[in-house]
Symmetry: C2
Subunit: 343 residues, 2 copies
């Protein structure tokens, strides 16, 4: 006997402790952090917006063979990461995730154990991000296809856009860059790397910088912001284009990944990883020069590092460790480009 769609929705609703199809309960007085008035089980979800807030809306593909590999990526990491990376777009606007929709297509063979492990990872991310499952769509497909929609909120007028950077602004990044790509490379070689190896942590379980994003938006420290999903060399031009500016970044200032001892023999180019590696989900933001001295070196134990400055001249320049200035060429992830770094 095959699984039916209703049974699968029941499994999901059960795991997320949401009201199932058998009588969706409606809470009339939703709590502050959970504004879901109606979750899984009806034609659509109902969300009560917070007064004085704008709604932040984003969606993200997470596809087998493009964004993850069924035989390399554990199901719980797939579950965690699909939500974490979508929520990172909410962080990039300075918003707080409020609820999400899961669109899932999968083979009949994956409707049992794989699905439960996937949902386990997804639920952990959902709880960590305080972002409950509101609904979604299920269908059968020969591949695992995932699409996540996240609805977030930000105080009206406080959202941080890509377009706010001005010449002279200081350019910052959170965390370390290239760590996720280092993990991906370890996974590809995979000799001696178990699923719990710390090198893989950021590739498997990235943490969207929600708290930093909110703080930067509410304090009005930042003038522009975006998240680094496709690599600094690809994402920085997008911020600059939106703001109609250029930028100069200093290779020596970029907080690159620490290479574990067992990997040091391979001569990893950590600067190249930091420039072109995708999937870090760190924040890239700009601060006006007179406020920059008040930006702390870290926020909630995550480093905030000045890596360069915004220029009026609309070029992108990289200053090497030896002081040599060259053009910064976009070499990160582009699903349609010839030389894309498909994971």
């Amino acid at each position: 006997m095959k699984t039916t769609e209703t049974e699968l929705i029941g499994t999901i609703a059960g795991m997320f402790q949401a009201p199932s199809q058998n009588g969706p309960a409606r809470r009339r007085k939703p709590a502050r952090l959970n504004s879901l008035a109606l979750g899984i089980g009806d034609d659509a979800a109902l969300f009560s917006p917070t007064r004085g807030c704008e709604t932040v809306l984003t969606c993200d593909w997470f596809l087998e063979g493009i964004h993850f590999l069924r035989d390399k990526h554990p199901a719980d990491a797939v579950g965690w990461k699909c939500l974490a990376r979508a929520a990172s777009d909410i962080a990039a606007m300075g918003g707080q995730p409020r609820c999400f929709l899961l669109s899932l297509a999968l083979p009949e063979t994956h409707a049992g154990r794989w699905l439960r492990t996937f949902l386990g990872g997804l639920r952990r991310a959902s709880r960590k991000l305080k972002c409950p499952l509101a609904g979604g769509d299920m269908t059968q497909h020969c591949q695992v296809l995932i699409n996540i929609t996240v609805l977030g909120e930000v105080r009206s007028g406080h959202a941080l856009l890509r377009s706010g950077a001005r010449p002279g602004d200081i350019l910052y990044v959170s965390g370390r860059l290239g760590e996720a790509d280092l993990g991906l490379q370890a996974l590809r070689n995979s000799r001696g790397v178990g699923p719990n190896d710390p090198t893989l942590r950021k590739h498997f379980f990235p943490e969207p910088r929600i708290a930093i994003g909110r703080w930067l938006a509410e304090s009005r420290f930042a003038t522009a912001m975006m998240d680094l999903s496709d690599g600094l060399s690809t994402d920085l031009p997008r911020l600059c284009k939106a703001s109609r500016v250029g930028a100069r970044i200093h290779a020596s200032r970029i907080p690159f990944a620490r290479v574990p001892k067992w990997n040091q023999a391979k001569k990893v180019d950590v600067v190249s990883l930091a420039l072109n590696g995708g999937d870090d989900y760190e924040l890239l933001f700009t601060v006006s020069p007179h406020r920059a001295r008040r930006v702390p070196h870290s926020y909630q134990d995550v480093a905030l590092t000045a890596i360069g400055e915004i220029t009026a001249e609309r070029t992108l320049r990289l200053i090497s460790r030896h002081g040599i200035e060259t053009d910064l060429r976009p070499s990160g992830w582009d699903p349609f480009a010839k030389s894309s770094n498909a994971s």
Copy 2:
């Protein structure tokens, strides 16, 4: 030279006359029907909720080989239908669509003419539904994969759920049932059926019943509502399960599809089509008996037909034209069921 993701986003932004990546404009005073404060081109979209309204949120797969066939379905019909069917879930709650997100994965070969024709159909639906494109996600894939998120609004406390039906309520449907499946069958046989044949209209270009849904929610006529996407015999049990009731429907009262003359020789079972055919996107709703006499026979030229009643006994019964009562068996679309009617 291959197309880049940025170029494709530019094509889409251009066709939807939205601000492109090159400096997304922000309107601080959005108009009543267009509450998009920030559209395509940033990390996420910004939407200004209307005071006194709840947000209605839904997402829908539309996948090649499952929901449509690349060689049978014209690209503009794919574009129209993917938005129309997602917006139907907003109609089913009594809501008004406000904006949508497009997640699109497609082969490099489809990034030119096919994409433009697809976007043309999508834009027509977007304008008809007053539901502008707010953002989305693009990637490359060997198949055309579409996921649509629609954000709608409904006056707080007025949303119509599946769970509100009570014993004695009269069961209604809008429009005619089985028309879309009749079109699908014509398309499968396809002899003598051009893409503009009226038989195909409802299968290619379904019209979500937004106005009827809103009117039923605002007038408080209906006690429960859902849309018919998988066929009456599959969807009615869902409404009954959510409301913890049963139903009796009368075959003789069901408004079935009119079979065109050229097709009449094939002895189409119109009652079976009306019971089990999917993709109609008509509304199924219940009205308390004392208000039922005030329900008009049509609303804005779409028929409203009483087809049965809700029962306290939790069974689903079908009364045949000859007065014989049998169990109504779910035989509509279920992507995970053995006998699903894959289109």
